[in-house]
Amino acid sequence: MSSTPVLRPPAGAPHAQILGVGGYRPARIVRNEEIAPRIDSSDQWIRERSGIAERRWADPHETVAAMGAAAAEKALAQSGVTARQLGCVVVATSTHFRQLPAVATDLAHRVGAVNAAAFDLSAACAGFSHGLALAADMVRGGSAEHVLLVGSERMSDLIDHDDRGTSFLFADGAGAVVVGPSRTPGIGPVVWGADGSQSDVITQSASWQDLRTDRSLRFPALTMQGQTVFRWAVYEMAKAARQALDAAGITAADLAAFVPHQANLRIVEALAKALQLPGRVAVARDVQHAANTSAASIPLAMERMLASGEAPRGGLALTIGFGAGLSYAAQVVVLP
């Protein structure tokens, strides 16, 4: 009688960390003055409601794959990891307008990640933070020694340019990180969740199926209940952010930086106030120049803070992504 053989368990690294970060900002700068007339608004009105002065909108050649690959090349260069060493490529995006195949396979091909699995992740503005949790678990679990995580968005394709509630808020760009093994913990426990009872708060005006059956429909666009999102993003996300600090075993006093999803400067400032962050903690305000780039916003903001010296390499950063779903994920990381 033969017994069933015991499977060899997966074995990964003891810890994971972000090894490098990179960003891609589209060439075309769109200032408030360009947008304001179409929504019967002004530069001052937009700044007061969002803190946004300008944003980047991608040209046709700056695709989700092309922007993501450009950001990925920078993250790889900073990390010292080669594309051939990547075991997985994850792309967080809401603006890759194909049901199949995933844009991640194209992106992996573009950067030469010939040994990598590749798939997309759908968690809207919280996509990067969800991906960071997956990447850390893959490295620690042994599924991949190095993971390329990319957030890449062309939100300008998804917004209603006549909607004065959203058209000035969203923009395009890509950010990427390489996650790999570490001797010490570089990515803290994730605190995440979802509330499907509020799935209509940020959504698409019509489904692709609706569009197929009713040819009179306009191309679907993002819709958002601003006040509901603001209340949730500030007061519920402050709770989640505090839980992420507790889960990592640190306090706000230990932080060097706070890098929340760059939804709106009003949300960023209100969150920082609710968390009672010490004044020396650098707060990401990339939204002023990049607007809301959804899944790309956290790595883009992180890259800017590190490049400018605003946040120190090796310092602790509290990150939190939140958005449509509603969905959110928060974790403390060691800055690369």
């Binding site: 007061e48 409601r49 209940q225 601003g226 006040q227 509901t228 603001f230 209340r231 500030v234 007061y235 709106n264 009003r266 209100a270």
Partner: protein, 82 residues
Amino acid sequence: MSVTPQAIIEAGLVQIVREIADRPTVAVRSDTSFADDLDIDSLTLIELVVAVEERFAVTIPDDRVRDLRTIGDVVDHVLGAV
């Protein structure tokens, strides 16, 4: 002279408005409009609503917030809820 619940709520609300809108000396009356008189926009109104909820232990759902146009509207809502 007795102090009415309405007066207590109004006084608390004035304090909240002064803090949230960062206008420490602003004078408000029952018919003072958030948008027209206090320059409080839709997001600041949410901050004010949350402060009111915490102070008076009431709930003001999002679908009721859009009906709140004046100081008196908030006082009425709190009075009706407590």
